[in-house]
């Protein structure tokens, strides 16, 4: 082939298909929104998400890549992508019922959601820092809009806060990417991983600086302390279905990015692990103790999301094989239980501020099924067997412990006690007899929301009793050995 011939980029449709399907849904929502009612769009989007999931499953073990490795549909991407889809489907199901009440029932809401999902999938499938960054920005920008869509002061405030702090996080992240590029001369994960060992001392310094800046940037996105301050305000202020999306799907995607970058590209780079361990410790302490003081149930769930970030980050402290497997399992479980808990809140709340914890008193006698479902979710979040949260926590402890981080496992165990108290208090209040009139929204029980709740509760129970159904897939170390690509 002569030098001057036109270079055809390495575009392979197969690897991109899952993302393209979701993108098609986003574009359809944008265009068709003028003609179709929103509910119809939501149903189309649900079908798109399922189709995307099917196309991911067909890619299993194929190792397809596109753009010269810039996009890679390896098994790790597929597992994380499926987790993202589960969270997204639950979000759409809940929004079918609650979007109207939350005054966000217009096609743009669906379009933004689908764009955000496209971005999250791009992160999970990314093979270099630029694709990851593009995905992250698509996700974040859509997220800012989603948080602000509702016409209320609280939503505007939370959206603005999210935007300002998120922009700072992105800027730091981009700065870090520049440093890493400067040190290694490569943007692809595989290239960085190959060059990370064997750098000159001066370049090692730059690499460490870049890794730390990227860590800080990601810490904003996943809400690691001390970069977590936006979380309770945004999760608490946004409409509940948006909080559900932000606290599950967006977090899964951000962790997928962290896993790619720190478990793959920078696995051998020095420095970041010791900083991450301090951030994790701070998150565990701050998240758990702050949640203990909340009066509002939705805000408490927001802090619980911060606390869970600490447990999830413990997985990153493990070796890529053990940690990746733990994270792969935990993220799905976390999505199921958090989404189901917020779905119950979305169904029962009177307005978008959620409910006070005291309002839950006697829920069992008014809505027995919701009360039991919420209790299961809370028990799972607390890590009580036989629910799947227990194995998630166990795997996180094990990943950190086996890699030598013994003291952080002990710290996690101690802070979990606080977690158990704030999860148990509402769970137990629900079962206490109460004679005061109900404080719930009277017509909250609708089929799609119930379906999402059932999906979450069944998921955490089945995965708790038979963890192998999912862990059998994610535990294969070969999946996580090549996070940076081959």
């Amino acid at each position: 082939m002569p030098e001057s011939a036109l270079q055809i980029p390495d575009v392979k449709l197969a690897a991109m298909l899952p993302i393209l399907i979701v993108l098609a849904g986003a574009i359809a929502s944008t265009v068709l929104g003028f003609n179709l009612p929103r509910r119809a769009l939501t149903i189309i989007n649900l079908v798109m998400l399922v189709l995307s999931g099917v196309s991911m499953v067909t890619l299993w073990d194929s190792g397809a890549t596109a753009f010269g490795g810039g996009l890679q549909a390896d098994n790790a991407a597929i597992l994380l992508g499926l987790t993202i889809l589960v969270g997204s489907i639950m979000t759409l199901l809940v929004s079918l019922d609650t979007a109207y009440r939350a005054r966000v029932s217009f096609p743009e809401f669906d379009a933004m959601l689908m764009y955000a999902i496209t971005g999250t999938l791009l992160i999970a499938f990314s093979g270099d820092l630029i694709v990851m960054l593009i995905g992250l920005e698509i996700m974040s920008l859509s997220g800012y809009v989603l948080a602000t869509l509702q016409a209320s002061r609280r939503a505007e405030e939370s959206g603005l806060k999210y935007f300002l702090l998120g922009a700072v996080g992105s800027a730091i992240l981009i700065y870090g990417i520049a440093f890493v590029y400067g040190a290694t001369g490569s943007l692809s994960y595989a290239g960085i991983a190959a060059k990370a060992s064997g750098l000159t001392p001066a370049n090692v310094g730059i690499l460490v600086g870049g890794a730390l800046l990227m860590l800080a940037g990601f810490a904003f996105k996943v809400a690691l302390a001390p970069f977590h301050q936006w979380t309770p305000d945004v999760y608490g202020g946004a409409p509940t279905s948006v909080s559900l999306f932000l606290s599950t799907v967006v977090k899964v995607a951000a962790f997928a990015g962290m896993l790619r970058v720190f478990g793959g590209a920078l696995a051998d780079a020095p420095g970041w692990a010791s900083v991450l361990q301090i951030l994790t410790a701070a998150t565990l302490i701050i998240g758990n103790t702050a949640a203990l003081l909340q009066r509002n149930f939705k805000r408490m769930l927001a802090y619980s999301a911060v606390a869970h970030t600490g447990f999830l980050a413990m997985c990153l402290l493990g070796t890529p094989q053990a940690g990746g497997a733990a994270l792969g399992y935990y993220l799905l479980v976390y999505t199921l239980m958090t989404a189901a808990a917020l779905a119950v809140v979305a169904a029962l709340q009177r307005d978008e501020t959620g409910m006070e914890i005291d309002d839950l008193r006697g829920l069992y006698y008014r809505h027995p099924a919701y009360a039991v479902a919420l209790a299961v979710c809370l028990a799972s979040l607390a890590g009580l067997p036989p629910f799947a949260g227990f194995f998630g926590k166990y795997l996180a402890f094990q990943a950190a412990f086996q890699n030598g981080y013994v003291w952080i496992s002990v710290l996690a165990a101690l802070t979990s006690v606080a977690a158990l108290i704030y999860y148990l208090r509402p769970a137990m209040l629900m079962f206490m007899p109460d004679r005061t009139p109900a404080r719930e929204y009277p017509n909250g029980q609708r089929t799609p929301t119930n379906f999402a709740v059932v999906l979450g509760v069944l998921g955490v129970t089945v995965l708790g009793v038979l963890p192998n159904i999912w862990y059998g897939w994610v535990q294969n170390p070969a999946i996580w050995l090549f996070l940076a690509g081959r």
Binding site: L384, F397, Q402, V406, V410, V417, M428, L429, P467, Y471
Partner: protein, 474 residues
């Protein structure tokens, strides 16, 4: 058969949710009786051998269960007392469906704890028994239950999470392929790491026992529970700490157990005496019983920690039968409360009108304070006998408890059942119907095994010998 015995109650508990209201008591009773029947069947067959299959192969977690010796004794007692609890709950609690379901669900957790031969499985059952206990307290508790609940949950979970870290450490540092007890015992951790892991493990067990200073949840837990005493009865069955130390602690941490023996024995003896002393000051029957139970558990701990064969046998014997008579006492207190509307120990003169209730309560108290001829005596005497050979002075201190026990038990009994009947006191009805069975059967068991201890000892002794042999090997 062993799987049926473990999971039959849970099945019954779930079935109860769809059973029509008027059949609930019968269905619950049937499941409790069937479980006990299965247990006796296993006993007749000479115990159930180890059954082990992979549960989560990639993590090395197995489903290993066995019911023999000590486990079988404790499982049988659990099944027996569950039946008694169901018998009483059906009569006493209004609309008892939820309560019966919770009792059955808890039974599965408890039998599972005794049957588990895999550390993770043990942990799973350990936590599972907790959920029904919390729900019973939440649904049926009294006005300050939230504080009691949080205290109870915080203490127990604090312990179990440290145990979880310890469990991970045992496998990871010892290099065992699975969490099954057989494999772990073959790959024990040595050196200082063993001591640290033992302390983590001990944290969970000491809370459950409970051992001073981790006992503060216990009195509140009992005081805030339903008046009938049924949740308390399940709560006393909950004391699996002694069993856990015996089954897993001694085998997995032989060096650390010997190293820490004097300290732990001292703590145990102090717990026994301190609890008895506090029990003396109580004016609420439930709190009194809670501290009495705590005192007994101090004895159990003394026996287990001494690592002496006679003492360990005694400890397991006491652990099993303490459940029977203390449980029955909680129910007797519930009956008293039903009649006079108070749990105060200074009521006076109940004996005049309710002679049978008073008589049976007194007999149960005799069992509790280890009067010879009752099962408690066999246990406490063996513990003192064995522990004396190891630490005479500590044992002497613990022995003083028996005097204190007689003082608190008899003085409280005296102020409630004898003394003068207050003027204008309501008429107290005597025992009727199933109440005779509820108090009589446990008393008969305590009396039978106090006089003829061979069947239980024959079960317990070989198991204790095996466990302590592992200690000598190292």
């Amino acid at each position: 058969m062993i799987h049926f015995m473990i999971f039959l109650p849970l099945l019954g508990s779930l079935l109860l949710l769809i059973t029509p209201v008027r059949w609930r008591e019968e269905v619950a009773g049937f499941f409790a009786a069937a479980t006990l029947g299965l247990g006796i069947g296993i006993w007749r067959a000479g115990g159930a051998d180890l059954f082990s299959i992979n549960w989560v192969p990639s993590l090395g977690i197995t489903y290993s269960v066995a019911l023999d010796g000590v486990s079988l004794t404790l499982a049988l007692v659990t099944a027996f007392m569950t039946l008694i609890a169901i018998l009483y709950a059906s009569r006493r609690v209004a609309n008892p469906g939820t309560m019966l379901a919770l009792i059955l669900a808890m039974e599965t957790g408890l039998i599972g704890i005794f049957a588990a031969r895999d550390l993770i499985l043990f942990y799973v059952f350990f936590e599972d028994a907790l959920l029904p206990a919390l729900l019973m307290l939440a649904i049926y508790g009294k006005s300050h239950r939230m504080r009691a609940l949080v205290k109870f949950a915080a203490y127990t979970l604090f312990g179990s999470l440290l145990m979880l870290v310890s469990i991970i450490g045992i496998k990871s540092l010892g290099g065992s392929p699975t969490f099954a007890l057989v494999d772990l015992a073959a790959n024990t951790v040595t050196g200082p790491a063993q001591t640290w892991l033992y302390l983590g493990f001990l944290a969970a067990m000491a809370v459950k026992l409970p051992l001073w200073p981790l006992h503060a949840w216990l009195p509140d837990f009992h005081e805030q529970n339903h008046d009938s005493g049924i949740p308390d009865l399940m709560g006393t069955l909950y004391k699996v700490g002694g069993y856990g130390i015996f089954r897993f602690g001694i085998e997995l941490f032989p060096d650390a157990s010997e190293q820490l023996r004097p300290i732990l024995m001292g703590l145990a003896a102090f717990t026994a005496l301190y609890a008895a002393w506090i029990a003396f000051r109580q004016t609420n029957w439930k709190r009194l019983l809670a501290y009495a139970g705590l005192s007994h558990m101090g004895f159990v701990a003394l026996g287990v920690f001494s690592l002496n064969e006679t003492a360990v046998i005694g400890a397991m014997y006491l652990l099993a039968f303490q459940n029977v008579y203390t449980g029955a006492l909680f129910l007797a207190v519930g009956m008293l409360q039903e009649r006079i509307g108070s749990l105060d120990t200074r009521v006076g003169g109940v004996m005049n009108q309710a002679g049978a209730l008073g008589g049976l309560t007194m007999a149960l108290w005799f069992a509790s304070i280890a009067v010879p001829g009752f099962a408690g005596f066999v246990g406490e005497f063996s513990i003192l006998l064995g522990a004396y050979q190891v630490q005479p002075w500590i044992t002497f201190v613990a022995g003083l408890t028996t005097i204190a026990a007689a003082v608190y038990a008899l003085s409280a009994f005296q102020t409630t059942f004898w003394q003068g009947r207050p003027l204008g006191g309501i008429k107290v009805a005597d025992l009727h119907g199933t109440e005779w069975l509820v108090l009589g059967l446990p008393l008969a068991v305590a009396l039978f095994f106090g006089v003829y201890s061979a069947p239980a000892i024959n079960l317990i002794q070989p198991a204790v010998k095996t466990v302590l042999a592992a200690l000598g090997a190292n």
